[in-house]
Symmetry: C2
């Protein structure tokens, strides 16, 4: 399980909440680093692409921002602050320097219903310059009224599919993903099944947002993905997914979990390419692609022991909800200890962190 | 502790969350009954007082409703559904029968940050006809952007003060409330201190709402209060508060809690009268009083044993957060068992449930 995709959750499998040592709040430094790298790009894109004169605010002069797949913080708070700073600067640069000429900001923090909103709310920055609200529900459906949002942000979230494609868990299907927990390193049919699920999910995502975002409004997506058309050359992701799958098979051999449980488990993550995303945007028809920037975050890893521990901890924070739903809480310590050891035994992994992500800026076209 | 005021929470003392046997979700049937009695009034008031032609919706045709002090449900959901039904009917009666002519609804569920929003979100009705959001924070301050709400609803919430008046806990003050946990049955000075806190809080409440509600928008408040100018003749409330205070003193004598802890504990609840509320509205100046209706809910109590159990359970669901903050969780079982027994020993209490509440409808004046 690579660290870079470990930012968000799938339906009913929230990031580990709470503020304990295994929680997401304490194990999201990779996402924080990535967000930091993306921040500058986001800032620049808003400055260049947001037209505050043409955008329609509500009668109450409120500027509405949503962060989709926000998890429990703190990354969502700095992302939102960054956006607000950029928007305020934009208004000031248009000669609106009086407080009354700058809109008030309302921020909608969205994640799936099982997300720990209690922790999110308790962590809200005390001197925030916006009105905060939480919105539970899947971003693959409608979450907001029509034309009610001005900027939508989503970071390390929409690589989570709405579900595992059914056929990869079906023993009678040619796309049955026997002995693996992900499509990387798998058969042609399995890869096609994940691709199809991605296409269906992204169509739903764009359709919902097209209704919710005002004309001229922006959508900023930070997505762990691949740069190439094919799925090859993602060796870090391949290896980490493979190792985690191996750990589960080891536990099955030891009788800790059943083989059936492992065979009915897949990780619903898909690494899209910018080209695939552009194709989905074109099919949807309501957005223009205003920016597409690849970002390579070089994570400085320490020695092998530390790096293995770090990756194992990050993976656990993100994926333990998914795993405990399938296998129960009681296997987690053993599983991630084993995973850490396997990572330590494969130090070459740390030399190939080909974990790209990209920032996309879409603008809602006029109707 | 009377049951009828047990609907909401004070800063940092949430209703008991979770769905266990002691939780608010399973112990709010009194509030449900009261809401049911108020529902008809609310319905009628919206029909009569909401002018959908003059009210300004956002550009996106969204009608925004907030429930302040919503707790964890389910009462908040039926209250909101009732309001939406009334508003929809109003639009239809104005000849807007096409779906596109009826606004979309966005509902903001507000309560203090320690409220269990996770439970609230998981309990949201699956086929709801609105977009749901949660808003953490005290309703004695700003929670929403300017002119962003069309109807504000609050049921069994604003009788909770923002805090216990400082002087009633101060041994050197003439308003020190020695040996009691509430102002009822207390000295002139203690009553004045609670009155002053109420006036200050209500001024903050109305000031914040005046900014948040659009001109022509309504505020519906369901408030456990008193009908008379004086604080006398609230014998049920007096007796229940007195009995709970006696229980705490008993525990102090047994050494279960310290006397100091009991002496530094007061319940920050104030039973306002319609006249007091009208005076506060007049001082604020931004609202007109459109309706004021007293409602007497006759609760059918069973035999003494059952009634004592019911009142004790309801009290616990509402007040245990407040008590455990002061005394620790470990006293709760003993305290409420004692309380139940004391109620059983005073059966005359059940014959004098003079627990009035009233429904007020305020309209935001044009600026």
């Amino acid at each position: 399980m690579a660290t870079e995709e470990l930012g968000k959750m799938v339906e009913a499998y929230p990031m580990k909440g709470g503020d304990g040592p295994n929680g997401y709040a304490k194990n999201s430094s990779y996402q924080k680093g990535a967000a930091g790298a993306a921040q500058e790009v986001v800032n620049m894109e808003i400055t260049e692409k947001l037209d505050v004169d043409s955008i329609t605010l509500s009668n109450s002069n409120t500027f509405s921002i949503a962060d989709l797949g926000c998890s429990v913080g703190p990354n969502t708070f700095s992302a939102v602050e960054n956006i607000i700073d950029a928007v305020q600067l934009k208004y000031q640069n248009q000669g609106r320097r009086l407080n009354s000429q700058i809109p008030e900001f309302q921020v909608f923090f969205n994640d799936h219903t099982p997300n720990d909103f209690n922790i999110l709310f308790k962590s809200l920055p005390p001197n925030r310059q916006y009105y905060a609200t939480g919105v539970p529900g899947s971003f693959y459906g409608r979450l907001f009224p029509k034309a009610s949002l001005h900027i939508v942000h989503s970071s390390f979230a929409i690589h989570w599919l709405s579900r595992v494609p059914k056929q990869v868990l079906d023993k009678n299907s040619p796309a049955w993903n026997k002995g693996r927990i992900h499509y990387l390193n798998s058969t042609y049919e399995v890869v096609r099944a994940f691709e199809a699920q991605y296409a269906e999910d992204m169509a739903c995502f764009l359709d919902a947002r097209a209704q919710e975002i005002v004309c001229g409004g922006l959508m900023v997506l930070i997505i762990p993905g691949r740069l190439q058309a094919t799925h090859d050359s993602q060796s870090f992701r391949k290896m980490t997914h493979q190792l985690l799958g191996d750990c589960l098979m080891d536990l099955a051999r030891k009788g800790v979990v059943t083989e059936e449980k492992v065979e009915s488990f897949n990780i619903p993550i898909y690494y899209m390419s910018p080209t695939e995303l552009e194709a989905a945007v074109e099919r949807n028809g309501c957005f223009s692609v205003e920016g597409m920037e690849n970002i390579r975050k070089v994570t400085k890893l320490g020695n092998v022991t530390e790096s293995a521990q770090l990756i194992s901890s990050h993976s656990r924070a993100v994926i333990e909800g998914l795993l405990s739903q399938q296998f129960g809480d009681e296997i987690l310590d053993e599983l991630f200890d084993l995973y850490r050891k396997k990572l330590e035994g494969n130090p070459s992994i740390f030399e190939s962190m080909d974990a790209n992500f990209f920032v996309t800026v879409l603008k809602r076209k006029a109707n």
